[in-house]
């Protein structure tokens, strides 16, 4: 999978690259508008992560250019939170998704994977891990071919962890993934703990034991 990250903040760019390289993506980077538009022009990417505020021009212009030239690369825009105008403009111009800064890398990863699945792998919309199987189209979860009934939040949580499997996902990232901006108003992340506890119990009942590990109170990790 080829990924182009257009972001002017070097430090943030490095973090994104490191995270996605570990996810076996082939990553290219661009730090300016010019560099970004050149790379987007010359190569085909599965996904472009596009910052809006770039030295030399707006990221939206790159998106406009791509769509005008019938390039169908998946584009995820990253921009400052609450720039609602950017969000609307970006989606109007044909962006596939929009993530607000500051984001969690695990969140960005989940979005990229969802986008790639939507765009290129219709029909095989399923996530698997060991005996755990999640059908993303019918939103059903089975373990050892046994159906597991999950609440919406539990399902979202499981898919999020599956998208970031073998990785430690922070409590904050989970809270924000499930509740979005609402997470800001919560005085503690205890509810993440209780959601995980419920999910673990349901998985255990059907024989998928111990695939969710707690990492020293930092977060959770889905691994075999």
């Amino acid at each position: 999978m080829k990924l182009l990250v257009i972001e002017d903040e070097t430090s943030l760019l490095k973090s994104i690259i490191e995270y996605f390289t570990q996810e076996d993506f082939l990553c290219e980077t661009a730090g300016t508008f010019k560099e970004g538009i050149e790379k987007a022009e010359d190569f085909q990417y599965d996904c472009i992560i596009l910052d809006i505020n770039l030295p030399g021009g707006s990221g939206l212009k790159i998106l406009e250019y791509l769509r005008q030239h019938k390039k169908s690369d998946g584009v995820i825009i990253i921009s400052a939170r609450d720039s609602l105008d950017d969000k609307i403009a970006g989606l109007d111009l044909g962006a596939d998704d929009y993530v607000t800064k500051p984001f969690h890398l695990s969140e960005l990863n989940a979005r990229v994977k969802a986008l790639i699945r939507r765009k290129y792998a219709q029909g095989t919309s399923a996530l698997e891990m060991g005996t755990l199987h999640v059908n993303l189209l019918s939103r059903t979860v089975t373990c050892n071919n046994q159906h597991i009934l999950l609440t919406r939040n539990e399902y979202d949580l499981l898919v999020f962890l599956l998208n970031n499997k073998e990785r430690v996902v922070g409590k904050q990232a989970i809270a924000e993934h499930i509740y979005g901006d609402q997470a800001d108003n919560m005085p503690s992340f205890d509810f993440v703990y209780s959601q995980i506890k419920n999910l673990k119990k349901k998985l255990k009942d059907k024989g998928c034991e111990d695939i969710i590990q707690t990492v020293y109170g930092l977060g959770y990790k889905l691994s075999l």
């Binding site: 973090s15 500051p102 922070g170 509740y179 800001d184 005085p187 930092l218």
Partner: protein, 421 residues
Amino acid sequence: MSKPLLQRNSLFLLTWLPVVLLVCLFAFYVLLRLQGDHMQEEQLLLKQRNVLTTFINKSGNMERHIEGEYSIDEMKDSHFAVSHQSRDTAVYYDDQKKSVPFQILSRAYTVNNRNYLVTTYVSSTEIAHLIIKVFIAQFLILILLMMAIVFLNRKSAVFLWQPFFSAIKKLKEYDIKTNQLVELPDETGTTEFDQLNKTAAGLISNSNTAYHQQKQFVENASHEIQTPLAIIRSKLELLINQPNLTEKQASLLGDITEANERLSLMNRTLLLLAKIENNHFPETEAVHVSPIVEQMIATFQNHYDDFPELDMDLQPNVVLTANRSLIEILLSNLITNAIVHNVPGGKIIINLSLSGFLIENTGPPLDIEPEELFGRFKKGSHTTKTTGLGLAIVRQVCNLYHYPVSYQSSNGWHRITVSFA
């Protein structure tokens, strides 16, 4: 005690003009008197000459005494003392039965070696009457003049000070938060008022700039802080994924992550406050309040295992014309506040009506002053994950839409009321 300028000016004029006028009247009287005396002197002298000439021409064959006119007396002695000054005297008229004041002048003459004393008379009554009449006329004219001065002064003051009063009126309407636009004319026709307007306009523009910069500063600072926070967050995410993490390291990372999240939240909230203040939410729509509250309560009840007992009375059809996001933030902050600052086994009462939104919760007593509650970074209890900005945002939104917001507390209950007036 300050009095209006016009009144002070009139008072000043009315105090000092009569003094000046009295002095003038006195001076006028003295001058008139002197002039009158001089005139009588001249008349007396003229009469003397006329009488003497006639006496010489007619060789003494003429009436020697005419009462009130003249008298010619022959003197034995040529060396008698005669005053050259005129004198006052009175002549008694039998027919009128009264004495009339006269001015007389006596001179000694020698005609054909005989000495005569010629005394001429001029009535003082006419000149006295004239002086009185002129004096009265003058007095009336001066009174009229004084009234005219005061009146004209008042009229011209109203007219001349008009730019001043209009500037005062405009400055009164000035408010750095809501009405920053004050238009003061550069040309008023009066140099002093031009200067006043220019100075005031300069001051206003400076304050506006400073206020604007200060508002922008918070927004810009929050905006700039976002990027480093985002970098820290991403690095922490990479760090917690490092292999062979020890428990000690993980615990340190956990603390750093938590602090960083708090900082991010605080920064986002400050940014939100600045944005509300800087009018970044101009779009308004008809917002139905009760479905928002219902949905929020459902979400919160889902989140919190220990959600307090709820007593909710929502009147449907409460519609506000406002920005939807801001109303959601307002309600969510109030509800969160009631949950977070509650006691175990506590209660929340929510009442929504056309007149306003009331939320009441049980909770420990405040350890800050109630009026500070809506200030920034004012925390009643030191719960870790609260920013102390929630109620500041509530107030900011309420200020924006002119909803009066109040707090009352009694018997372990805290009540916040937002009126949709």
